[in-house]
Subunit: 253 residues, 2 copies
Amino acid sequence: MTPTILVTNDDGISSKGIQSLVEVASSFGEVLVIAPDKPQSGMGHAITINQILRLDSSRLFPQQAAYTCSGTPVDCVKLGIYEVLQRKPDLILSGINHGENSSTNVLYSGTMSAAIEGAMENVPSIGFSLADYASDADFSEAQQVAEQILHHVIREKLPDHICLNVNVPKKTTTPLKGIKICQQAHAFWEDRFDKRQDQFGRDYYWMSGDFLPKNPLPGSDLEALGQGYASIVPTHFDLTAYSNMDFFKTMFE
Amino acid sequence: MTPTILVTNDDGISSKGIQSLVEVASSFGEVLVIAPDKPQSGMGHAITINQILRLDSSRLFPQQAAYTCSGTPVDCVKLGIYEVLQRKPDLILSGINHGENSSTNVLYSGTMSAAIEGAMENVPSIGFSLADYASDADFSEAQQVAEQILHHVIREKLPDHICLNVNVPKKTTTPLKGIKICQQAHAFWEDRFDKRQDQFGRDYYWMSGDFLPKNPLPGSDLEALGQGYASIVPTHFDLTAYSNMDFFKTMFE
């Protein structure tokens, strides 16, 4: 039976990355595109509960059923399952994100949060990101990685409630070294706020900052990307710090 | 030395829950309030990078330094550290959330995401939630739990990069049974979209749904809350599914 594949992202429906991913997904099944009508980077696992949601047909993908959504990537997954399909798809793909989602960026990433929402629904789900922020970024190698991973996942399935966080390094003249299974690196942002004044003399801020990938842990996604590998972090949504349970039992119980 | 305590939430600066938490926090240190200027429930770990941020003094807390922020709870933490204080506070407290943040709700919760952002900054951080959605919810017992936990945390510290997800059951005539250290329950939402038409005949949706806490796992926060205990889930931000690494190494490497 032809699998139904829900494709979303956080860069918005008109981004190059989702076009690239739909091209790959189409050879594996029937694609349904539901993506934000505007960029939703950094939206993490946000859902829209204090505002209405719009869902409109899109002509951007004439070969597929496609919708824009006024909300977040997680909203797109929820609308796809509970409103458009009214059942679970066979696969949820998110991306290809225009920029890296390695390390702790998984928490801020709308692209990965859509995949995590898929894992909560126990639908095999994969988020793809390309570590290249250039406006003319070349998605072709990331497409090849996506294709290779899809072959495996469709044949061998994923464990229950586990999704994949796939990052592909920026394309260079050196071919990709391969794929590495990694743990999420522990690297963090040092934020900066650029303070400006509007036309009324009132302050406002733009968030920026530096990502500090100091000494990436051996076996981490940051290390693999730095070495020229695509990284896959098997990702779940249980935030319990199990190794600290006894410490806290002594403290509080 | 008097500790500096950053207090935020996701229900917004004028909510009853943050007032309750500031009352408790004030007896432990110098409180800085930075909270959203409007409700930001369900914003998860969203940050504001495609829009400007406003940060304005608030007169709601005349005894404390207090600011409203136009962004998300995580924005509040980042602005607190990198703009207002220009250093890390000694403690970050988030809440008291007006409603439960047990189980997988931790992922959608702006309140808990603020605490997780604190853990990423390696600041001892705690999110508090009251499992009562009534507009006249009684926060007094949750305040007592917060006070008790703060006594321990200030004296004994928290392990690096670990925050606490504290949920307190709805106050009843039966006194609270105590505190239990728990794992995050695996329960999920079955979403529903209420489809309506605007004044132009155009469709829109409200997200709603049912939370399905079927057979809560023994030792989970849902079980503890159901039995009349406050639950504490020690919470981290490493989403790596370590137990599946070998499976995927065989599959992809």
